[in-house]
Amino acid sequence: MKALVACPHCDLLQYEVLLAPRATAHCARCGTPLYRRAPCGPERTLAYTLAAAVCFVLANAFPLVALEVSGQRNSTTLLGAIVDLAGQGMELVAALVFATIWLAPLLQLAGLAYLLRARLRVRHARAEIQVLRLLAAIRPWSMVEVFVLGVLVALAKLMHMAQVLPGVALWSLAALMVLLAAALNAFDEHDFWELAAGDEVPQVAGDQAVVQ
């Protein structure tokens, strides 16, 4: 039986086609990407995720940037900057920054690790479906790459008034940005849903093939 797919952007009903790794199926009418085959298996995706997790720890353990002006030195960490912002009466904005550059990436890493652990054992439960749903929901709100650009802009503004010293956390954050994107790109959501509980069992077709 061929599976049906309806385009999320124009509702056109189409048959699914088998894809080569790295390939993406596009809607025949509006061109929206429908689904894709991941470039690599869950083992490599897990490796990206764990490497990104190490970078996340480093990005939090070390100062992000230090500033030196006529003998005075001031440095800040990722969370320290957010706490400072809240201390200036900007609690709502601080909460938004916290959610987009700290909480969302952390949830993405934890969710990916959880799903990949399950994927390697090929077993799917309700909890995993909830985690996958959560990953899809927070994806637009995870903004590490925007933050890294923001750091560059801030440094450019400070360069004329002080000596600016990039910290270990800044490099870790840049590495986290790349590795998290790689992990999310390598995670095969389509494949995951097909293995999810409650769907038709693919063995049926295999049995028929044996009988014939």
């Binding site: 797919v5 005075q72 912002l85 200036q88 749903r133 923001g150 802009v153």
Partner: protein, 210 residues
């Protein structure tokens, strides 16, 4: 049915795809259902898509001029104090020689939110008027809006960092201004607006020649 359509949509056959796992399924008589695979709520189109989109757009439109007029950053030392709006911050970058960054900030903070509001308003209006032309281009525009919206958070992150770093007692101090809150509101509301809009509405009613 008047004529055989060149394209068959899921809705025409009483089917809908699950918003979470994309499984195509038959809906109940009331146009609702529960996905048999992942138990998500499935509806034919996003519920109240247009009213929600308009509500978020209205909120963003009200906040946009406020975000641009109020200072987003306050800096000062012993001798003087200075309020910076988004635009004066860009002007500072430009004058100090970082014009590529000035351009990036201008696009992310000024242009993208404005174009997002205009683009989504146009999309919502065109759906309400049952526009038949440029369906493919409008879908592309929607995808673009979804893609670039998050980059508007750039200035919020810059202010967060500057206000944490520049705390040098009498020499210089920077703190976030009320414009930052309004600007954060613009970013969040435009993201929610684009999330509420259902691009399938663009294609509903498309026939053989559209």
């Amino acid at each position: 049915m008047s004529e055989a359509p060149a394209f068959v949509t899921a809705a025409r056959l009483g089917l809908a795809s699950c918003p979470d796992c994309a499984l195509v399924q038959r809906l109940g008589a009331d146009g609702r259902g529960r996905c048999p695979r992942c138990h998500a709520f499935v509806t034919l189109r996003k519920p109240n898509s247009l009213p929600r989109t308009w509500a978020f757009l209205l909120a963003a439109t009200v906040l946009y001029p406020i975000a641009n007029l109020l200072p987003i950053m306050r800096s000062g030392n012993l001798f003087n104090a200075q309020d910076d709006t988004i635009l004066s911050g860009i002007a500072y970058l430009w004058v100090s020689g970082s014009w590529p960054l000035a351009l990036v900030v201008f696009v992310a903070s000024v242009l993208v939110p404005l174009l997002k509001i205009i683009a989504l308003s146009w999309l919502a209006l065109s759906v309400q008027r049952h526009a038949r032309r440029h369906r493919r281009q409008r879908t592309h525009l929607y995808r673009l809006v979804e893609l670039v919206g998050r980059w508007s958070m750039l200035d919020i992150f810059v202010v967060t960092l500057l206000s944490a770093l520049v705390q040098l007692n009498s020499l210089a101090e920077v703190s976030a201004g009320p414009g930052a809150l309004a600007f954060a509101g613009v970013v969040v509301f435009t993201m929610l607006a684009s999330h509420s809009f259902d691009p399938r509405l663009i294609w509903d009613g498309a026939g053989r020649d559209d």
